[in-house]
């Protein structure tokens, strides 16, 4: 297995909704409408022309997803909420 040395630092939109559609559906107050809006925007994201080729676009997206997380402020505002539990699946 050959290591890859390519550095990928282009912006990706994967996993993000355009706020307007979901927000509008929230205003309507319908779960179905919100899910439909999210679905539609997912499709738009999947079709977004981020790079020249699908493979490159996907590599950019995957690299973005694997990049460092944002730890936030080093000194949290007390008391920070416990937001979830991760574990082996």
């Amino acid at each position: 297995m050959e290591p890859t040395s390519r550095r990928l630092r282009r912006p990706a939109r994967v996993g993000r909704w355009v706020a307007s559609g979901v927000t509008a559906a929230v205003a309507v107050g319908s779960v179905g409408a919100m899910a439909e809006a999210a679905e539609q925007e997912l499709d738009e994201v999947s079709g977004a022309a981020i790079g020249a080729t699908a493979a490159w676009r996907a590599e950019v997206a995957a690299a973005e997803m694997m990049a460092a997380a944002d730890p936030g402020d080093v000194t949290p505002i007390p008391p920070p909420p416990r937001i979830g539990r991760a574990g082996a699946s």
Binding site: S46, A58, M66, P76
Partner: protein, 306 residues
């Protein structure tokens, strides 16, 4: 929209439990759960009528939109970025190992090696081609992806805090630093989770702990052999997303430790790798996240057995 108190709502999905912890409104939570359930129906390898099953059994290129072409594209790109140690085309090897249901219901006595294979996505048409003899398995990345989308949806609706865990893959979107608990691989020391603080990111844990057969055979397939990994380690990974962390954790649990280090450092992720017997390798910048090292604190706590 009025924000509610932070609470946790759980549902079964994707052969696991979905846990949503947030102050978002009830309707936003229901929407996030609906999206997760939709993706479950779409990407399950265990449903004959799922989009993924139809793609895997199609004679030629199959329509994969909406969104299925995207996750397969990213999973295949993840294979490249992990130097092949994460491989979504090992579905047949996983099935050959006996992992034919959404839980380890029984494992084959003799396991024939089944290597991964070629698969491709046409980005213009959304058509996915999985050749005969190859099968896509999105198990891990699907959980992470669903967690990412659920948490993003909640944040977009104005939640201050959103944590969505699908089968243990967790995505956090929080306006301020929030605390995440990371369970130990075994039942022991369950009362001593690692505590990390983060605002926006994903956490995944991979290892030979929960989804294993009684005889010790594992769902973690070594892509170099097409057989269950011989001696995987526990990998705890923090990355920008749950899907990314999941791909990295899977790769880091079965790759040689030097290769795992290369992959994780190149990605910029933070990770703890725990070998059988408790040896610990730390990668990245754990000091930026760690609040309490919990079960990582001493070798006796890190020890685990197959």
């Amino acid at each position: 929209m009025r924000a509610d108190a932070v609470r946790t709502i759980t549902r079964p999905a994707m052969g696991a439990e979905v846990a949503v912890t947030t102050d978002a409104s009830d309707i936003a939570v229901q929407t996030a759960l609906t999206v997760v359930a939709t993706l479950d129906r779409r990407w399950s390898r265990f449903r004959d009528d799922s989009k993924l099953s139809r793609i895997n059994t199609a004679d030629g290129p199959a329509v994969a939109r909406p969104s299925t072409d995207r996750i397969i594209e990213v999973a295949l790109a993840g294979r490249t970025l992990t130097d092949g140690w994460y491989d979504p085309t090992l579905g047949q090897a996983i099935a050959a190992a006996g992992y034919r249901h959404d839980h380890a219901a029984g494992w084959a006595d003799e396991i024939d090696p089944v290597p991964g294979g070629p698969a491709s996505v046409d980005g213009d048409t959304g058509l996915v081609h999985v050749p005969a003899g190859t099968s896509i398995d999105l198990g891990g990345i699907a959980k992470g992806w669903a967690a990412d989308l659920g948490a993003t949806l909640l944040a977009d609706t104005g939640a201050l805090h959103a944590g969505v865990a699908v089968g243990g893959d967790l995505r956090v979107r929080s306006r301020t630093r929030a605390v995440v608990e990371i369970e130990p691989p075994g039942a022991e020391f369950a009362d001593a989770p690692i505590l990390v603080g983060m605002r926006d990111g994903g956490v995944a844990v991979s290892g030979p702990t929960k989804r294993r057969a009684e005889d010790g055979r594992l769902h973690l397939i070594d892509p170099t052999t097409g057989r269950p990994a011989a001696d995987p380690r526990v990998a705890v990974v923090i990355a920008a997303s749950a899907a990314g962390a999941e791909m990295l954790a899977t790769a880091a649990s079965i790759a040689p430790v030097h290769a795992a280090r290369t992959i994780l450092e190149r990605a910029g992720a933070t990770a703890w790798l725990v070998e059988r017997g408790g040896e610990l390798t730390t990668i990245g910048t754990p000091e930026r996240f760690l609040l309490d090292d919990g079960w990582l604190a001493e070798p006796a706590r890190r020890e685990w057995a197959l």
